[in-house]
Amino acid sequence: MTTTAAPAHAPGHESGAVHHGPAHLQHHFQTSDQQYDASKLGLWVFLLTEVLFFSALFVAYTTYRSLHPEVFAYAANFLDTNLGAANTMVLLLSSFTVAWAVRNAQLGQRKLLIANLAVTLLCAGTFMGIKYEEYSHKYHEGLLWGGAKHSIFKYNTSYIRPDVKAHSHAWNEGSPFNHEIAPVKNLTAEQRREVSIFFAIYFCLTGLHGIHVLAGMVLLTWLLIRSIRGEFSPQYYTPIDLGALYWHLVDLVWIFLFPLLYLIA
C-alpha cells in the first residue's frame, strides 16, 4: 500500500465511515470508485450544458440558412476548405492522442502519458495557428460581420474603408477558391447585408469553439504539469479522464462545424 496523507484516527472510533482512503480521496466520499463516478457524472452534466450552449448558435445557423440558402452557398466560397479540412484532421489526431493518454494513465505509463498529452497540446496549438491564419486573412480581406470597422459588407458603401476596398481581393475579384462567383462589389446593399450575417454566424461559431480550444489548452497544460510531477497513478487518474472527455467534446463540435461552414455546395 502507498502511504496516505489521511489523518490517523483515534483508535476506538466506532463510525463505519472512518477515513482510511488514499490521499486523493476527499473526506465526503467513501471510496475512490464513488468519487470517480460522482466526478464523471458531474462532467457529463457539464458537457450537456456545453452542447446546449453551442446549440443556440446552431439554431441561429439553421434558421438563417433555411431562409437564405443562396447566401450560404455564396459566402461559403470565401472559406478555405483545405485549411478547414487540415484543422479537422489535427483535432481528430488530438482526440486520438488524448484517448491514448487515458489508457497510459490507467496503466501507469508515465512517459507515454506525458508524450501523448504534449502531442495533444501541440495539436491544439496547431489548430489555433491555422485558425489565426484564417482569421487574419478574413480581417485583411474585410470578410467580417457588418458592424466591424474593416467589413466590406456595409449596407452603405461609403462606410466601407477605401484602403480595404483597394486591397481586398474579395471586394474586387471575388473568391480565390471559386472564380465563378461574383465579387462583393457587384452585390446589392441587401445582398451585402445578408452575406454579412453569414460571417457574423461564422465568427460566433468558430470563435466560441476557438475559446473552447484555448480553455482546453490551459487544461491540457495543467494536466501535463501534474503528469510530469507524477501525481497520477492507475489508482487515481480522474483529471486525465475528465480532461479528455472535455477535449473530445471540442472535437465533436468541430466535426459538425466543418461540413456546415466549409462544405456548402
Partner: protein, 118 residues
C-alpha cells in the same frame, strides 16, 4: 489486492476498462477516411442531398467519438443517457424553432413587401 475485489463490469476503479491502442488507432483511421469522404462529397453537386449526406457522415463520426473515444460504450448507462438527453434537447430546440419559422416567416415576408411598396 484486486483479486478479492468484486469485478466491476462497467470498468471502474480498481478494474478500469482500458482500450487497446489498436482500437483507438482504427477509430482514428476511420474518422480520417470519413473526413476525406465528406470533403469529396462536399465538392460534388449532389442535387440537394449534400446537406443530408454531410450530416449523416458527421453523425457517424460523432457516434464513434462518443462511444469509443469518450468511453460511453463501456461507461455507466446513466452518463450516456445524459448525453442522449442533451442531443434530444437540441433536437427539440431545432424542431420548435423550425416550426415557428415556417409558421411566421410568411407573415414577416408579407409585412416587408408592404413596407417596400409605396
Amino acid at each position: 489486492m484486486s483479486d478479492h475485489d468484486k469485478h466491476d463490469e462497467l470498468g471502474h476503479g480498481n478494474q478500469p476498462h482500458v482500450l487497446s491502442v489498436g482500437l483507438l488507432a482504427a477509430v482514428l483511421v476511420a474518422l480520417l477516411i470519413l473526413t476525406g469522404l465528406t470533403v469529396y462529397t462536399g465538392k460534388k453537386d449532389l442535387h440537394g442531398l449534400d446537406l443530408g449526406i454531410a450530416m449523416f457522415i458527421a453523425t457517424v463520426k460523432a457516434t464513434m467519438v462518443c462511444l469509443i473515444f469518450m468511453h460511453l460504450k463501456w461507461d455507466r448507462r446513466f452518463n450516456g443517457m445524459i448525453f442522449l438527453f442533451a442531443v434530444l434537447l437540441v433536437g427539440l430546440f431545432l424542431a420548435f424553432t423550425t416550426l415557428d419559422l415556417s409558421q411566421y416567416q410568411p407573415l414577416v415576408d408579407e409585412y416587408r413587401r408592404n413596407q417596400v411598396a409605396p
